[in-house]
Subunit: 214 residues, 2 copies
Amino acid sequence: MTLNASQLDTITEVSPKLGRKRDHTRDPEILDAALEVLAETGYDGMTMEMVAARAKAGKATLYRRWPSKGELVIDAVANMKRGDFDRDHLPDTGTLRGDLVAMIKPHAIEDGARKMRIMAGLMSMISRNPELAEAARAVIVEPRASANRILLQRAVDRGEISADCDIDNLAMLSQSMAIYRVFVLQKPVNRDFFIRLIDGVVLPAVGLGHPAGD
Amino acid sequence: MTLNASQLDTITEVSPKLGRKRDHTRDPEILDAALEVLAETGYDGMTMEMVAARAKAGKATLYRRWPSKGELVIDAVANMKRGDFDRDHLPDTGTLRGDLVAMIKPHAIEDGARKMRIMAGLMSMISRNPELAEAARAVIVEPRASANRILLQRAVDRGEISADCDIDNLAMLSQSMAIYRVFVLQKPVNRDFFIRLIDGVVLPAVGLGHPAGD
DNA sequence: AATATCCGGAACTGTTTAGTTTCGTATAGA
DNA sequence: TCTATACGAAACTAAACAGTTCCGGATATT
């Protein structure tokens, strides 16, 4: 329950006696295992033995590298693979709707669902640990929001939508509605859900949908 | 960690030997205490001793009435005071914006914040317990969403907005964005936040905001 | 082959906490 | 006053789990 100091030093160091490297080669597997267990059972349900077993490692190996369960979790989240929403690889179809729809790939939905499970597992911890909250935000949720912001800004730049739009809120909309849908409504987040959100809320809100004039 | 059967029988029963009533008079205080502790520490951080101490009760008293921690929590959530969003006491200002803004009372914000803290404390448990998820949805989140739905439907009925609007999604929008803002962004949910949401997203989405033509 | 290092496994310690039991007391009906 | 019941407090049991220690084997450098 205690996770205070930050200790994200890098892996490879020099041994005191020999010029040989300290490997810590199992780090990636362990961090992956930690994320999996986290997604399945949540922070409090997760035990170090589960992580060790999942990674086919010994508990001692975990503690050789991380001083506590909390530090391991922070490290796992912070080093999590971000969604591949590079500015350069974003869709560019010429219309906002085209871009937004192009973002809905099966892989992206799958990945997003896993990240939301991780997020839920972290929730109670997040509200008590700003460091973890920031790591989770930066890795789990910000890449996607930032991609949306770029798509919206492009639409503004090409004159498709008004510059008065609340881009910041609109960029977070799909993520926030998805979290709500999964955990509060307990309904699936699938392609149809996102399409309906785009056509029923986002596009109308920027003046492109039905209500304003189809 | 186990919370299966439902045991929401009512409180006052008749003793086997006498016509006297079994009081369980401490029930309300205990349930309140459970909610407070839940909001402060989350389900896993909450201990039965904390709840007992908060209610100035003995641990034995808790177990006389509820078979387990999980059952106590479900009971506390299910019997939680709903927001007072009666169909009859909703604002009716004549415009959608007026109605939505009138919903933002300091008390409602305060109450909503507490409920969100409780929600966060339940998160990891919710994803593993449908019964709890349903109780939380019905009590914490549905009253508000349903109020929004009514206000939107009224606006449709009086011809202020189009019937094509995605009322269901729009009614959940403020809640879902508020959850996101508190837990992911760690920023305060205050009056300004809601006003900006109304003017920047909801009203535009129904064809009343700037982008469509101010 | 000799040696130094990392690793996995298993046994161990100490703490926390769910849940139980016991007991002394307050209260309300008879 | 007498008695049954509900209660608060505290001691208790049993299990789970974070974190530690030890050991034997694998690997790689010399």
